[in-house]
Every structure is written in structure tokens, then in C-alpha cells.
Amino acid sequence: MGTFLLLLIMGAFFAPAQAQYLEEFEDKVTEFTLDNGLHFIVIERHDAPVASFYTHVDVGGANEPVGNTGIAHIFEHMAFKGTHYIGTTNWEEEKKVIAAMDQAYQEWLAEKYSSNPDSSIMEEKWAEFEQLQEESKQYVVNNEFSQIIERNGGSGLNASTGADFTNYFYSLPSNRAELWFNLEADRFKNPTFREFYVEKEVVREERRMRTESSPVGRLVEEFLAVAYTAHPYGRPVVGWDSDITATTIEDARDFYDTYYVPSNITIAIAGDVEPDRMKELAETYFGDLREGEPAPPVTTLEPEQRGERRFTIEGNTQPIMLIGYHGVSESHPDFEALNLLGNVISSGRTSRLYKKLVDEEQLALQVGAFNGFPGSKYETMFLTLAVPNMGVELDTLETAVYTEIDAVKNGALTQEELDRARTNIRASLIRSLNNNTGLARNFASTHATQGDWREVFRRLDRIQQVTLEDLQRVANEYLSKDNRTVGATVRAES
């Protein structure tokens, strides 16, 4: 009797937050799937006459073919280049020149990578390619696609590519919703690969900026390459420089044909919109998006790590250290426990890592731990980032991190720490519910990866079920020396 009563009280105490919000959102959310498999989530928020549009494509760096790393990201750039009538003065003529240009580039590539490349043939092919590229420019209306959006008051226009996904998003005054349907459907039905080879140079500058010229960028790229031997999570999303060179329009088109199919896309719209009207427009503009085959899965599994991996990058910048452990994918029962573990030990000023390393011992300028890097769809990593204070040796800091992790393995975490982490996760979910872009992003990506936007709220139930014993168990199971990769930038010995 007593236990039963306690259970009831506990239930009443914990249930409300997630149940209440889920209920509220059930009223605000309308979902529908077109015949071709394209799924829409419409979230009504009528506070202001605006709406955010978010397209989540279930493809990212992890899906790229060998030799074409970076292609998901290159395609993302191409999605801003226009359609058959936007961004061109004459598509019929332009497409012929684009095809010839790609042919010339492919021939140049073939010669370049032949066993015995002939430099005069290469020069000839390159000259031909450049001439066609120049010719193709006469048809181009520069950035017309983006200009139409901006001219109509578009806000926050952008896109991004990750290891697991590619997303495209912007907001419009909500009376212009039809414009979004028109443009979004057009760009994914009629990609043109206009200005492809100039844009690859833009992408290369992006690579130089984010990776090659940035100490943190270099460290992260090297870290993943060392941590993963088989799974594509080890490859940079922006692509290796030589793969960017080797990628052709034909490659990009194959990639598009394979992965940009309706069953692989989820769209969310949040704002001052009427669901019925959205459905009508969805059918009108997206109804004829070709159905295609379901996108193929990634089949490579990362083999078990056989021992600790370590590397350092010498340079002239101050040290930064990454410590990563192979973990599980988000569909695994331990995923939530590992998430919570990262949160418990490093989130907030009361967390162990902050309290010890930043505050008391002043070893670290910054320290953090989180689960799910570089993605979460496949077996991913539990990552710790540590930035030492001036004059603190990396060894000292690394040892201090392990001391804290060992304490957790030995059962040092308390119920208070766990409850606090749960409370903060719940509150940050609530704080995320009042902006259109965030809602659209969260609901669309959750649907795409977990099959239902409601998992956004059900996650609260899942973290409620994780116990202290679970945290201790996953710490022991995954955070072991043999399973870890340690990488750092260090100052060069002079």
C-alpha cells in the first residue's frame, strides 16, 4: 500500500511537464505525408505574421561515396544556384554548355589520374574546360534565387551540412508562404549544377577558413580521422581537398538522385500559417516530386578499438585537448544514459568537471563533455574537450580529467547531481519552445531520426528512467582506456 501510494505521488510529480507540453503541442501540430512519401509537420504559432520553413534531408557526410567526401556539402551549395528558369537567361542553351563543361573536366581528371599523365593533354583539356566555363557564364543571372527570397523579406536564409543531415531554412512573412513552396520544390525538382566548378573554389575557401587555417579545425579533423578507422564518421564533412577536386557534376547528380528522394526528406513549417492551406500548397508544389528508391543505408560498422590512440599537432598556438570514447548510436538503449552522463559531469558551475578543474584547481580555462560527436545516427563518440589555463601542462589536465571520470566509474555521482541535470534538461526544452526556427528544426530532425516529433517530449520520460546505476555502468563500459582517442594541439618545441 505504502509503496503504491509513493509511486502515485512520484508519478504525479514527474509526469506533468512533458505530458502537459505534449498535450499543448498535439493541438498546435498538424502532420501529413504526400503520396510520394514526403512528410510535413506544421506547427501553428499565431503570435506574429511570420513563418519559418525548414527542410531536413536525411543525408550527410556519412553517406558519401569513397573518393567524393564533401559532396553532400557541395550539393548544399548548389541548391542556391537556381532552377530551370531562375538564375538563367536560357536554360536550354545553358544546360548544353554545362554538360560539355563537365565532360571536359572529366577528361582532364581522367588524364590527371592516368598512370602516365601527359601534361600537354591535361593543358589542352583544362583550356577547353575553362573556355566552356566562361561560355556558361553568359547565361547566368547571379544569385537570383537568393535575391528573390531576400526581396520578399526572407530572413535567416541558410543551409548546413553535418555528418548525418543536410538542412535548408529561412523565414518569410507568413502571407508569402506560397513563395517558399514554389522555390523549395523547384530547387529540389530541378537542380541545375550551375557555376559548379567556381563554387567548388568557394567551398575550398570554406575549408581553408574552417579547417586548414584554424587550430581547432585542424585538431577536430585529425581527431576524427584517428578515432575512426572504418566508419565514414572519420571523414571531414567539408571533404578532403583532393576529393573536392575529383568531384564532378555527374557525381553530384548521382548523389542527388540517390538521396534527394521524398522518403528521405522531412519538412517543418512553424508560424502564423493555416495547416489546410499548407497541405494544399504542399500537394500542389511537391506532389510531383519524383518518388525514387529509398536511400541506401550506411553498412560499415566501426570495429572494436584495440587500444588507446594518441596524437599531437605541433604549432604555434596554445594547447587544446580532445578525449573521445567510442559509444553507441541514438537508437541504442545506452544513448540517453551517455547523454545524461555528459550533462551531469560538465554542465553548469556545480558539475564535477567545472567545479574541480575550472574553479577549484584552476587547471582548465574550459572543460566540457558531451555525447554524440560527430553525429548520432550511427555509433558515435562521447567527447571531452579540455582547454588548459596558461602554464598548465596538458598531462596534468588530462590526468585530472581521468581522476574525475574514475570517480564516476566508482560510483561517486549522487542523486542530487542526477536530479539537477534532469531539471535543467527539462527547463532547456521549455526554453526552446518559443521560436519558430528552433521548433521547426527540432521537430523535423526528431521526426527524421526517431520517427516522431513527439520524441522531443518523450525524451523527458527516457531521462527520467536513467538511474545512477546506469550512469556508473555506462561510464565503466564505454569510458575505458582501450576505447579512447586523445588528440591535442601543442606548442612546437623550439
Binding site: D47, A48, P49, Y85, N142, N143, Q147, I148, E150, R151, G153, G154, P173, S174, N175, R176, E178, L179, N182, L183, D186, K200, E201, V202, R204, E205, R208, M209, S213, S214, P215, R218, E280, L281, T284, G287, G315, N316, T317, G348, T350, V358, Q362, L365, V387, P388, N389, M390, G391, R420, T423, N424, R426, S428, I430, R431, L433, N434, N435, S494
Partner: protein, 688 residues
């Protein structure tokens, strides 16, 4: 006939309710009206002003206090005071809520509290679940009013600030933005002043307490509250919570004038391990209060707005020179902004990108913009206005920010009208009046070897020194006796260089045994050093091969296996300092140095006379009383590896005199108490 009819009917049935259109054929319905929320304003007797907006969407309440203070108000010698004070108010908690208790209290309820002081304003924020508001509001006000400033949190904030200083040259863009501001406002301007190790050390707890007490007063405080509450009840709670704040005096924020001469300069910062140049160019900008402000905003959009701007079109899309390109003619309310255009491009196309940007600036002056561009810009601006008011918190924040800066409430409406009225001619006129493409300052942060001589065509390249000034030595400064110091310095000088010696560069052959992580390493060295101008040439035989090092004017080069490369400042500086500290240099330049006698000290049974010598560098010598020769030297030096000061001590013995100059044939150097190197001299002579 019947069949046909049926067929037509079926087609009609399967036709979609609406048909696909071209984008330019869409007709848009009227936009729903923007709901402007009620903003309730009231002021307490002590001067705190409140702005309240109810927003019942989520069970949250947010309080944001804006405080009239800023880094602008701190003395130059204590740069960092405002920022560290802002940090420690929150980090240190109050007497009633000490840091650890405060953190647990807030985090147990998932409440966020922060305090921050920036360049020309301070802020404090509390974000809580509605049910915790009544408990936590008094805590928030107590922390704001009675911060404890505990020593340990001050120490923590100082350590973190110093660590951030040590990292400030790591990212190219950070270096670029900072050094460009220096070029525009001047090194010592309040608008660019840097926090240094030395200025952090100058900050005391008392400074922080005073800074807080001066500025965190009711008359300096504007508080915005938004969330799930009832306005009348809230007003009562605010009165109770904020009523006891001392009224204080409203801060007078004085923004110094900027004297700008429009120089044309080309500046360079060398960065290893990058393959891209961070390019920024421009000159001083303007003030917000300017009838041309709307036309300048249109100009900015045409030049560098979003995906449509000319720089994006040309430098990125057409030329493929950059991923990132942009900038604007900036205008601030209280002091002049900066006209600044920025891009990042591979080293080999640095000049090409600079030229492409300058060309677009000139084109704005030489040709009128097109009607199409003008309309695009206006449409873009007017159609996106709704996003300015798409949330209640944006509306509240804008209201408070305008109030704080002293912008009139209709400043924004005036801008809208001004933009509507802007003509093609206006844009060309302001481009001609405000932009000076022939008088820009250009800064490139990039890889010297890869860039080569591309920058020479813009003028004499000024190499910007970004080395971080070292923290002062930790030694307690004890004032010594100057008169006796001078006498001992004379005696030491005469012992090292016989009076009447005809000095010249000194040639030394020696074997140096250096302690390394891999064990001792032997280096044979021949060096010619000129202590007049601190130049030297040195050849070293090391296990890794021959290394030649050349030092002059505080810089230098090093070559190994035929590869010559410049010595980075963090290496050239200690080597130059080593020459300046040498007893021969001290003997030679004794008239320019100050010496203080610090008494005698017994080391290893020997009584030695201690003098501290100050010039460009500071060094303490322990002299043999009889001969006047130095027995030991103590000094501190920045360790380029750790970024920290190390304490070093050299012990001299086996003195030999050749050509009138005495040299210790054995020198053993200890760093932080551990033996680091031994130099055994084989011969020395004075060159003619």
C-alpha cells in the same frame, strides 16, 4: 457525348485545387497585422526604471537589467577591471548567497543568472521558471547590490583573463579584427585598448568594490521584465525588491573624440600554419546621427548585403575567391564607427581579392547603382521589417536599448522613411562623400612565405608586432640604494672590461651542454656578438645538424640545412634579452643603466654583494666583493613554450682575460631551480 462529359469531369476531379505557378505570378494575401504588445513603464523613487511586457506563451520570466557603466570608464593601467568586475559579481555571489550556495540554489531550479560588463554598458539577467520567481528575485537583487567579491573568485577570474590573453593570437580573425581597430582608432585609444597581463595584475579587490559601488546604483539601472506574470502584481514585487537600492548618481559616459587623418597604409601580420589570408581594409566610419544615415544603409546593402550584395556576387560567386566576404560603413550612436570590408582568401590570391574589393568600392562612386538594385534593397528592407517585431522580447529589448543609447523612440521610423525616400543619386553622393578608396588602411593576417611580395604594390609594408607583452616579474620590488649601486656597477664594469680597452665585437668559441627531455644535448657554438647594437651571428653544431642564427634590431633569422626562416618574436625577444643582460653588455653600457644596491647575501659560504640593474631588461648580479666580478646573475624570462615566466640563475666561474675583456669560462644556468645548461668556453677574442 455522355462518355466525353464524364471524362472531362474526371479530369477536373483529379486536378489539384490550385496549380503550380511561376514565383513571379503568385499573388499574396494581405499580411496579418503585427500585434504590438503593451509595454508598461514606471520608475521608482530611487531612479530604477522598469519596462514590463506580459508574455504568457511559456511559464518563464526573464529579468534583464541594463547598467550605465562600461570598460570605457576604467583607467588604462587597470584595463580589464570592468570585465572582471562584471564576472565576479555573479561568480562570487553575495554575503547571503556565497558562490557555492548560489550556484546550487540556481541550478537546482534550472535558473540562469548572469552579469556582464562590456565596452559601454553592463547587464545582469535572471531567467527562471515562473514558480521560482518570487524566491529568486530577491537573490538576484542581493547579488547585484551586495556582491561579496571573494578573493578566490577574483583570482579565478584573473587567471582566466590571463589565459585568454595568452590565446588571443591563436585565431587569425581575432588578430585581424583587433589589429584593424588599432589602426583606425590608434593603439592607445579607449576604443581599442587591450587587457594585458600587467593591467590584470594592477587590479585590486578594492578597485572592483569601488567600480561596483559607483555604477551599480538605482539611477543607472533600466530593467526589462518579460514573461508569464500579471503586470500589477509584478510592479509590487519589483518595488519591494529594487526599492532598497541606493539612488547613487547617474554615470556620465564621456566618449573621446577620434582624430582620424585618412592615411593610406598596408599592414601585415605573419601567421604560421595558415594557407588563407584574412584581409580587412577601410577607414573611419561615422555617427548614427547623420541625415545621410538611411542612404548609407542602402549603400551598405548594395555593396555587401546578404547574398545580393555586390561583394558577394563578385568576390565569391563570380571569382570564387572567398567563402566569406562582407563589411559595411559603420555608424555608432556615441562615437564614430568603422568602414570595414573583410574577406578570407587563399594566400596566392590575396592581392587579387583586395583589388576586387577596392574596385567595387570605386564603382559605387563612379557609376550610379541600377534601378533594380535600389528596388531590391528597398523591398528587402521593407518586407523584412516584420522580423524586427516578431517576438515580444525583441520589441522590449529594442525599446530599452534605444532608451539606453539616447536614440529617440521614432529613430527607427525615421530610418524607414529615409530609406523609402533614398534615390540612386543619393547613394552615389554618399559613396563619394563618405568612402575614400584611395585612402584606406589594409591589413593582411596571413602566411608570409605563401603571400610573397603581393603586398608591396600597396606601399611600404608595415609589419605589425602582435607579440603579447610579458607580465612583469613577480619579484617584490625592494628599493635599493642607488648611490652604492652605482659604485658597485662601476667596479663590476671595470673588472669585466679593463679601463681603456678598445672594444669591438667579441668572438667566443664554446661547448654548451643543454638539458632536454631526451637527456643532455651537446652543442658546439661559435658566436660573434656586438654588444653596442645587440647584434650577433652564431653557428651551432647540433646533433640535428648545423644551425645558423642571426640577430639584429630585436629580430632575426635562423637557417638550418640551407632553409632560412625568420625567428618568431617569442624566440627573437628572449635571445636579444639574453644579450642585454650579459655582463659585458652591462659593463659596456653602464652609463645608460640604473643600479640599486640591495645589500649582501651569502651563497654557498661566499658573501656576495647584490645589485639590481635596470635598463631595457632587469637583472640582479651577485658580485665578488674583492674582484668585482659577477659570481651569479638572476633574472626572469618568458618561456615561449608555457607562456609563463621562469626564474633563472647563472653561476659564473673560471674567469679568463683576453684583449682586456674578462669572460667566465664556465657558466652553469639553472631554470626554476633545475640545471638547464652549462657553457664551457674554449676561447674568446675581440675582433678589430
Amino acid at each position: 457525348m455522355k462518355r466525353l462529359l464524364l471524362f472531362t469531369f474526371m479530369v477536373l476531379l483529379v486536378l489539384p485545387l490550385s496549380a503550380q505557378k511561376r514565383y513571379d505570378e503568385i499573388e499574396y494575401p494581405e499580411m496579418n497585422p503585427i500585434n504590438m504588445p503593451e509595454v508598461e513603464e514606471f520608475t521608482l523613487d530611487n531612479g530604477v526604471t522598469f519596462f514590463l511586457v506580459e508574455d504568457h506563451e511559456l511559464p518563464l520570466i526573464n529579468v534583464r537589467a541594463t547598467i550605465r557603466t562600461g570598460e570605457l570608464l576604467e583607467p588604462a593601467s587597470k584595463a580589464g577591471l570592468a570585465s572582471i568586475t562584471g564576472d565576479v559579481i555573479r561568480e562570487g555571489g553575495s554575503e547571503n548567497y556565497p558562490a557555492d550556495e548560489l550556484n546550487a540554489l540556481l541550478e537546482n531550479r534550472a535558473a540562469n543568472m548572469s552579469t556582464f560588463i562590456g565596452f559601454n554598458s553592463g547587464s545582469a539577467q535572471l531567467n527562471v521558471l515562473k514558480e521560482d520567481f518570487d524566491d529568486l528575485l530577491p537573490v538576484f537583487v542581493d547579488v547585484l547590490q551586495n556582491p561579496a567579491f571573494p578573493e578566490d573568485k577574483i583570482e579565478l577570474a584573473k587567471t582566466q583573463t590571463k589565459s585568454a590573453i595568452s590565446r588571443r593570437n591563436d585565431e587569425q580573425s581575432q588578430v585581424g579584427f583587433r589589429e584593424f581597430s588599432n589602426l583606425i582608432y590608434g593603439d592607445n585609444s579607449v576604443y581599442t585598448r587591450q587587457t594585458e597581463y600587467a593591467t590584470v595584475d594592477n587590479i585590486t579587490r578594492e578597485d572592483m568594490v569601488d567600480f561596483h559601488d559607483n555604477y551599480f546604483v538605482a539611477n543607472n539601472m533600466t530593467v526589462g521584465i518579460i514573461g508569464d506574470f500579471d503586470t500589477d502584481e509584478m510592479k509590487q514585487k519589483l518595488r519591494e525588491a529594487f526599492g532598497s537600492l541606493p539612488a547613487g548618481k547617474e554615470t556620465n559616459m564621456v566618449f573621446p573624440e577620434v582624430d582620424y587623418e585618412y592615411p593610406s597604409t598596408i599592414n601585415f601580420v605573419n601567421k604560421e600554419n595558415v594557407n588563407q589570408s584574412f584581409v580587412v581594409l577601410g577607414h573611419i566610419g561615422g555617427l548614427r546621427e547623420n541625415p545621410d544615415y538611411p542612404a548609407l544603409q542602402v549603400m551598405n546593402e548594395v555593396l555587401a548585403g546578404g547574398f545580393s550584395g555586390r561583394l558577394f556576387q563578385e568576390v565569391r560567386t563570380n571569382l570564387g575567391l572567398a567563402y566569406s566576404v562582407g563589411g559595411s560603413y559603420g555608424a555608432n550612436v556615441n562615437y564614430p564607427g568603422v568602414f570595414r570590408l573583410i574577406t578570407m582568401t587563399k594566400s596566392s590570391t590575396t592581392a587579387e581579392a583586395i583589388d576586387a574589393i577596392l574596385k567595387e568600392v570605386k564603382r559605387l562612386q563612379e557609376e550610379p547603382i541600377t534601378q533594380e538594385e535600389l528596388e531590391l534593397t528597398k523591398d528587402q528592407f521593407l518586407n523584412s521589417l516584420v522580423f524586427r517585431y516578431d517576438s515580444k522580447s525583441k520589441i522590449l529589448n529594442e525599446r530599452i536599448d534605444n532608451e539606453y543609447l539616447g536614440l529617440s523612440p521614432d529613430a527607427f521610423d525615421e530610418l524607414v522613411e529615409g530609406i523609402k525616400a533614398t534615390t540612386i543619386e543619393d547613394v552615389q553622393r554618399v559613396a563619394r562623400e563618405y568612402l575614400k578608396p584611395e585612402q584606406v588602411q589594409i591589413l593582411v593576417v596571413g602566411n608570409e612565405d605563401e603571400i610573397g611580395d603581393q603586398l608591396q604594390k600597396y606601399g611600404n609594408v608595415n609589419k605589425v608586432d602582435i607579440s603579447i607583452p610579458e607580465p612583469p616579474s613577480d619579484e617584490e620590488e625592494v628599493a635599493g640604494d642607488a648611490a652604492q649601486g652605482g659604485e658597485w656597477l662601476e667596479k663590476m664594469a671595470d673588472a669585466v672590461i679593463e679601463p681603456g680597452t678598445d672594444m669591438g665585437p667579441i668572438f667566443v668559441e664554446s661547448v654548451i651542454t643543454q638539458q632536454t627531455q631526451m637527456g643532455p644535448m651537446e652543442i658546439t657554438s661559435t658566436a660573434i656578438t656586438n654588444y653596442d647594437d645587440y647584434s650577433s651571428e652564431r653557428t651551432m653544431q647540433t646533433p640535428q645538424g648545423e644551425i645558423q642564427m642571426k640577430i639584429e634590431n630585436g629580430g632575426g633569422t635562423m637557417s638550418m640545412m640551407g632553409q632560412e626562416r625568420p625567428l618568431p618574436p617569442q624566440m627573437a625577444t628572449p635571445v636579444t634579452n639574453e644579450m642585454k643582460r650579459n655582463y659585458i653588455a652591462i659593463a659596456l653600457n653602464k652609463d645608460e643603466l640604473e643600479a640599486e644596491y640591495l645589500g649582501s647575501e651569502t651563497v654557498d659560504g661566499e658573501e656576495l654583494e647584490v645589485i639590481r640593474i635596470k635598463g631595457d631588461v632587469t637583472v640582479t648580479y651577485l658580485l665578488d666583493a674583492e674582484s668585482g666580478l659577477p659570481a651569479r646573475a638572476r633574472y626572469s624570462e618568458m618561456n615561449p613554450q608555457t607562456g609563463q615566466r621562469s626564474q633563472a640563475e647563472s653561476v659564473f666561474s673560471d674567469w679568463e682575460v683576453v684583449d682586456g675583456v674578462a669572460l667566465a669560462y664556465t657558466t652553469v644556468t639553472y631554470v626554476d631551480g633545475e640545471e638547464a645548461a652549462t657553457q664551457k668556453v674554449e676561447s674568446h677574442s675581440i675582433e678589430d
